[in-house]
């Protein structure tokens, strides 16, 4: 396996050299605690404020609305639990969708155990949420709407501008998980009427273990991480300074090149989809044909199972992912694929290829070349295909 082709950028990305370079001094020479008033502290403090500014600019927010967290999961947990607990006097109802990331769904399920009520809105065959469904679900007990900007599995981009408008009209807080969207599409929290937004560094060539939650000024949410006075008393714990610096640099780079990235990835994406579907029968595209993230390809191959596809691809040097239950060690195939109406056995045969900045046409053509044999071999073994 000499050739290595990484096509799982939605799972995680490597850290770009420019990003790592900016981080490095903060591990060693500039290691101070930003809360300290002496020299080492001040230089760290200034650096994290510059990073905050960069994150703010990237999403059209004020720097004072940006809070650093340990990643997308913490941002989601904080936004949802924080708004739920802070809003308890008003009500106990939360609206979300059936295709959110587990960081949202499992948080909501936990809140249900604690007595909250959650509406999980359905999606159509493409994974789109209907804004009218959101409007109809709102009651006078609704304290939060949490709908993702774009889905991590099937890449569908949700109508969050419309949903934001409805939330604003009805006076309900609106949180969006933009973890997959940053760097792939323009986001402006003000024009989108977003009250809270989650993002995570390692999805756009920044480091793992760092993320941010945008909280609009005036939004009332409980703290999630209690302790010291860091992050203006709202998120305790000694700041992950190198991580924050890396996040700032990475989001700056990622948002500066959105048009080019979109153009590049969309071209590769469509070539990959077409190439595979032309060559292999019994394949369907999951997600929306056009309202989808530029780098996302998600296909179901009937009669076979995803993990064995992944492993076969891995043996040929290609890294991808699947919504099969067998891959994740969980018991059901992807809740997203089931939500768009796939039968279990078809959901098991899903393959997600997510493209990144370094992927080339040759990479795409290589996958188009090797995949038919892999699928054919597995189908030959399958009792479902034989039947």
């Amino acid at each position: 396996m000499d050739r290595k082709i990484y096509m799982d950028h939605a799972a995680t990305t490597y850290v770009k050299p420019e990003v790592l370079d900016e981080m490095l001094p903060y591990f060693t020479d500039k290691f101070g605690n930003p809360s300290s008033i002496y020299f080492y502290g001040r230089e760290a403090k200034e650096a994290i404020e510059m990073a905050r500014e960069k994150v703010a600019v990237a999403i059209g927010a004020e720097p004072s609305g940006i809070y650093f967290t340990s990643g997308g999961t913490e941002s989601d947990n904080w936004a949802i639990k924080g708004a739920a607990f802070a809003g308890k006097k008003k009500g106990n109802h939360i609206i979300t969708s059936a295709i959110e990331h587990h960081a949202v769904l499992h948080t909501c399920q936990y809140l249900e155990k604690l007595g909250f009520e959650v509406t999980y809105l359905p999606v159509d065959q493409y994974g789109l949420i209907n804004p009218d469904d959101v409007r109809r679900a709102i009651t006078d007990k609704t304290v939060l709407i949490s709908i993702m900007t774009a889905n991590n599995e099937i890449g569908t981009i949700e109508p969050i501008s419309e949903i934001g408008k409805i939330a604003r009209e009805q006076g309900v807080y609106f949180h969006t998980d933009a973890v997959q969207a940053i760097g792939s599409m323009d986001i402006d929290v003000k024009s989108l009427n977003v009250d809270m937004l989650s993002l995570s560094g390692h999805k756009f060539y920044g480091p793992k273990g760092i993320g941010a939650l945008y909280i609009k000024k005036g939004v009332k949410i409980d703290q999630f991480m209690h302790g010291g006075a860091q992050e203006r008393n709202r998120r305790a714990s000694t700041e992950n300074v190198p991580g924050i610096i890396g996040l700032g640099k990475a989001i700056e780079l990622a948002t500066a090149t959105i048009p080019q990235r979109r153009e590049h990835l969309t071209r590769l994406r469509d070539r990959l989809i077409k190439g595979i579907m032309d060559k292999i029968p019994f394949v369907r595209l999951n997600g929306h044909p056009t309202e989808r993230l530029p780098g996302n390809v998600n296909l179901s191959f009937e009669f076979i199972e995803g993990e064995s596809m992944l492993l076969s691809l891995d043996l040929k040097g290609v890294a991808a992912s699947s919504g099969s239950a067998c891959t994740s060690g969980s018991l059901d195939p992807s809740h997203v694929l089931l939500a768009i109406g796939l039968p279990h056995e078809v959901a098991h045969g899903s393959l997600r290829l997510t493209l990144g900045d370094d992927n080339t046409e040759e990479d795409v053509d290589y996958v188009i070349e090797i995949l038919p044999d892999i699928v054919e071999r597995l189908r030959q073994m399958s009792p479902l295909f034989a039947e």
Partner: protein
């Protein structure tokens, strides 16, 4: 994650296919759960002379199917019935914990094929048929541990 033996049996599975005039056929699993296994055997006296399988499932399911067929080929029915999922997993130098249930599939598939043969031969009645394992890979439950 997987041992070399698993990878070997996954990439070069032995005894893949169907036996059109099989003496016994066993089919276990559930496509909803992402795993189905079908085993075909030819029996001569009480010796399993040939065996083939078809599997829809993960690499572990394919490898354990392959290894199980290898283990029973040429064995007596009783010897074959003595083979457990653990025997198969051990023969593959082990399986990751979350994949042990895939080996249960192979064990169940074998038994089902042998029982099918016995039933066809009138050696046992429906009632005497062993129950397959409670399917560990139970699709109906949600991930409880992750709540």
């Amino acid at each position: 994650m997987y041992s070399q033996k698993v990878m070997d049996h996954f990439t070069n599975p032995r005894n893949v296919g169907e036996i059109p005039d099989a003496d016994g056929v066993g089919e276990v699993g559930n496509p909803r759960c992402g795993d189905i296994m079908k085993i075909f055997i030819k029996v001569d006296g009480d010796i399993i002379t040939d065996v083939k399988f078809q599997t829809f499932g993960c690499a572990a399911a394919i490898a354990t199917s392959s290894m199980a067929t290898e283990l029973i080929k040429g064995k007596t029915l009783d010897e074959a019935l003595a083979i457990t999922n653990k025997t198969v997993a051990d023969a593959l130098d082990g399986l990751p914990a979350i994949k042990m249930h895939c080996s249960v599939l192979a064990e169940d598939g074998l038994r089902a094929a042998i029982e099918d043969y016995k039933r066809k031969m009138g050696l046992i009645t429906e009632d005497e048929m062993a129950k397959p394992h409670e399917h560990i890979h139970d699709c109906a439950d949600d991930e409880a541990a992750n709540g």
